[in-house]
Subunit: 549 residues, 2 copies
């Protein structure tokens, strides 16, 4: 049985899910689904991997070793070193590998990629520890975001690719009646890969944000070079290791995927991105660098900075809403691209099922909810995780000087398991609407602004202007009035931002579910990509049709 | 019955044709299919339209009239004047119209657009005369290219748009089991139009090259401004007239489509293209201007210049092949973007079913075929049509000074119907492969180079390099060797150019059939668009999904 046949049912279910957009995931998100021994084995793997060369990657032709990752939980270097390669070596390897991979059938590509996702599944716990000790995500988030949720997104890209690549027949007989005779031609169409793909990773979600572009590039036949963030290599190294093994065992060139590691002192990202042979670039990171990537005149897929807002108008249960917002803002210390930063509240207060709650009490409810969450020793550490970088940590420490009314300053809390973890609870600052110089930019990390507005119209206008100017990935809105819901949806959608309405309980605006929610719309300044619409794959290859008489 | 219901069968057949890619056209290409009186009526229409203001377009808010079209067949101005508008008026009208059109249902949009194509069908003969007397296309080509073939492409864009716009459900219930409870959300998705579309027309195919982008922009909900070439307005004015009527009679804002006419002395294209409210730009024309359009950092769809080649290796019947090439190069005097310019022939000659024919005899066969075609009074005038512009005419007259060995100079022939027609037969020049400074650029018009190469490998390498550097829309190849066919296909497809093999008889490399052949691949320097792949519509709107708890 071919790998394609082996995974055909999964692929077909995934393709169907793209159209249905109801819940679908073939990879269980609960660690419990993976057996009792998995976690212990992974702990052992992590400790034996630390302070060693990572020998599981192809290192033929490498010119040295480097590594500078620091665990945000331990605040010591993890000591893993990775092979480094000359740019020319990477490019030439990719050119060579692309020749074979680009000609592999769509079925063969889908088969080996989905089979590899099965292998990756057996590494979810290794991946979890690798993610924890590079990004600072909590154990559970590391497991879920880098494991099943990322694999969902990878499969989504494979499925979308398969759908697009099979949307045109391989060969047809074309017959046109010319009256007295028929004009006949044979025609065939080939989806020709654009060329070498570069996927640039970020430090906070080194797998989740990398695999959509990676698997989209691969299913469409492009040899791919991954340039990870120098501070978050280990998680994606596992993915590359599994892909290289999968390619080799399928008799393909393992260098179809390569890891291009660099050191902050000697960055290679621009050298790779500007290389003529690189035809597509996926990027997650700062707006400044993202704009540079978009300006390269190549096919690009970017996720840049955005400023996410919540509009608070009317609610049923204020406590439930405050709790939901507190969690959304605190989860992974606000280091998610989908975390809310600005909360717009009318100075007239918020209507609830128990009557109008004055503005100050609404603010207090949110303040109390954040404090209650982070000070709860059972919930706080697991929610906050750790701060990925010193830069973010410093930004949070200095946030109190931004201006406005400091409602909550950051502080540290105890993580019993990791006493040395770099922890910072959210800073909460109250601003007036005319202090937009403070709130109209992304303050990455646990920094939240409550902005007092003149009313709902005002909140909508401020949010809309911000989305248009700076972009956003999420927008939350709370209103029990159907007309206001429609108005908010219309205004926000017109600037290409989706709205999550009245989220409470287990629904958080931070979460985007594969096969259902598009991650980014691609239409506002937060990025030009959308995981995974049809363009996310179709821009990576070109239909070329020959005709024969 | 709604317009959607009225045209549902056509739409469904068109959507199906996109996947089958076998022959499909709902608009007969023979003038005979449209009744005996149609031509006479159109002649009358043309003569009463000339030397008048074109009053059939909305001219509310216009600030004057202009027109400078010259009939290439009569070499006198046709004297039609069109309303001109301030940029702000056009933009504000489009903004206003876009509000309604963008919210119209996909079904309503498809219904009114296909219904309008039915109305346009009743104008095919008017369109034919309008096209003749602006572009210089012969009567038959004017009828077919601007009439049925263009409408095929318009319907193709509508069908592709409908397919993409209905690929995501409007609304779903999303349920995720969380173990002890279900997390439930309602979700809906809206394809939000990107904004005002600008479609920039060219002088040689003012309808065929305009309607794909126009109908793609419209089906995806974008109010559209058409900026025609100042020398070829009348044909597309008819289309705009019919669209404005169709919108008005459907109770929609007729300004959903506007014609933005300018004068060569005071061009407005850049003012429109750079306007912030314009979000997408379709363009057909020079590479220089096309590169400027692509550099605007907007969503663009370009068709620019290219250099099309034919590789002559081995044939069955040399005379049939020479005749086919002669026709391809002479049709509309080589003013088609798909016309061949460079013919690469090995100095070793060409293998035929009757043995090897020496190089010089092959050259002679092509020379003879061209002379035979253009000197035939029954075939010559109808094939050549007339030269659209003075610039092209001058280029052809001066081609003999380009260098190389002049095999055929241009001359005029008599067109009995139009004694004053601007006619120029093809110039045929023989070059060596090292005279690439002459053949490696587009020499628009009836200028053909025969390039003597060292053999097939050489011909392939030269063609491939040219496609990579300058782009191309077509590539013809003649070889009876299956291995060579595969090699040529592989090499050319790798630089994103399709190959038409062994075309003789009624098959010409110039022709691209809607619903089957992609016009342009979008992958080589001749343009970034492809009529009509999924991207041709999907880039014109953004999926935005809201979630409700």
């Amino acid at each position: 049985m071919s790998l394609f046949e082996k995974h055909k049912a999964t692929l077909e279910a995934a393709v169907k899910a793209l159209s249905l957009r109801t819940y679908y995931s073939p990879y269980p998100e609960s660690p419990k689904a993976y057996g009792d021994e998995a976690d212990g084995k992974a702990k052992f793997w992590m400790s034996s991997t630390m302070n060693n060369n990572y020998n599981e990657l192809i290192n033929e032709g490498s010119i040295g070793w480097t590594g500078e990752e620091v665990s945000p939980f331990l605040q010591v270097g993890i000591g893993v070193k990775y092979p480094i390669f000359a740019i020319d070596t990477l490019i030439n390897n990719a050119k060579e590998a692309g020749k074979t991979w680009g000609k592999a059938s769509i079925e063969d590509r889908a088969g080996v990629l989905i089979d590899c996702l099965d292998q990756i599944k057996s590494r979810f716990f290794d991946i979890a520890y690798a993610t924890m000790h590079t990004t600072g995500q909590s154990y559970m988030m590391s497991f879920q975001a880098s494991g099943p949720h990322a694999s969902d997104r990878a499969l989504e890209a494979v499925a979308m690719g398969y759908r697009e690549l099979t949307s045109i027949p391989h060969e047809v007989e074309w017959v046109k009646s010319m009256g007295k005779f028929d004009l006949k031609m044979k025609k065939n169409w080939t989806p020709v890969p654009k060329g070498i793909a570069l996927v640039i990773g970020c430090s906070t979600f080194p797998i989740w944000n990398t695999v959509p572009g990676l698997f989209a590039a691969l299913i469409t036949g492009n040899a791919t070079i991954i340039k990870p963030h120098p501070k978050a290599i280990l998680p994606i190294a596992i993915i590359v290791e599994e892909l290289q093994k999968a390619f080799a065992s399928a008799g393909l060139n393992p260098k179809t995927v390569q890891l291009a590691v660099d050191h902050t002192d000697k960055p290679i990202t621009k050298l790779l991105a500007e290389n003529k042979a690189v035809k597509t670039v996926d990027f997650t990171g700062s707006s400044e660098f993202g704009n540079y990537i978009e300006g390269l005149n190549k096919t690009t897929f970017t996720e840049k900075a955005g400023v996410n807002s919540i509009i608070l108008d009317s609610v049923n249960d204020l406590k439930a809403v405050a709790g939901n917002i507190a969690f959304s803002a605190s989860l992974y210390s606000g280091q998610m691209c989908t975390a809310p930063q600005n909360i717009f509240i009318s100075s007239n207060g918020v209507q609830t099922s128990e009557g109008l709650v004055p503005y100050d009490e609404v603010v207090k409810a949110i303040t109390t909810a954040i404090t209650g969450l982070v000070d709860n020793p059972k919930a706080g550490p697991g929610t906050l995780g750790a701060i990925q970088s010193d830069v973010t940590y410093k930004r949070v420490q200095e946030a109190k000087n931004l201006g406005g009314n400091l409602l909550l300053d950051t502080k540290s809390i105890v993580n019993e398991e990791f006493k040395d973890a770099r922890i910072a609870t959210p800073v909460l600052i109250e601003l007036n609407k005319d202090q937009s110089n403070i709130f109209n930019k992304e303050c990455f990390g646990p920094i939240v602004f409550i902005i007092k507005t003149a009313g709902l119209e005002d909140s909508i206008a401020l949010t809309k202007a911000l989305v248009e100017e700076k972009g956003a990935l999420t927008c939350g809105a709370y209103t029990t009035d159907q007309n206001m819901q429609n108005k908010i949806a219309e205004e926000m959608n017109s600037v290409f931002i989706p709205v999550s309405f009245n989220f409470t309980g287990a629904g958080f605006i931070n979460s985007h579910a594969a096969f259902s929610d598009f991650h980014l719309t691609g239409g506002n300044p937060a990025g030009n990509a959308s995981f995974a619409n049809s363009e996310f794959v179709s821009k990576r290859f070109v239909w070329v049709g020959n005709r024969y008489m």
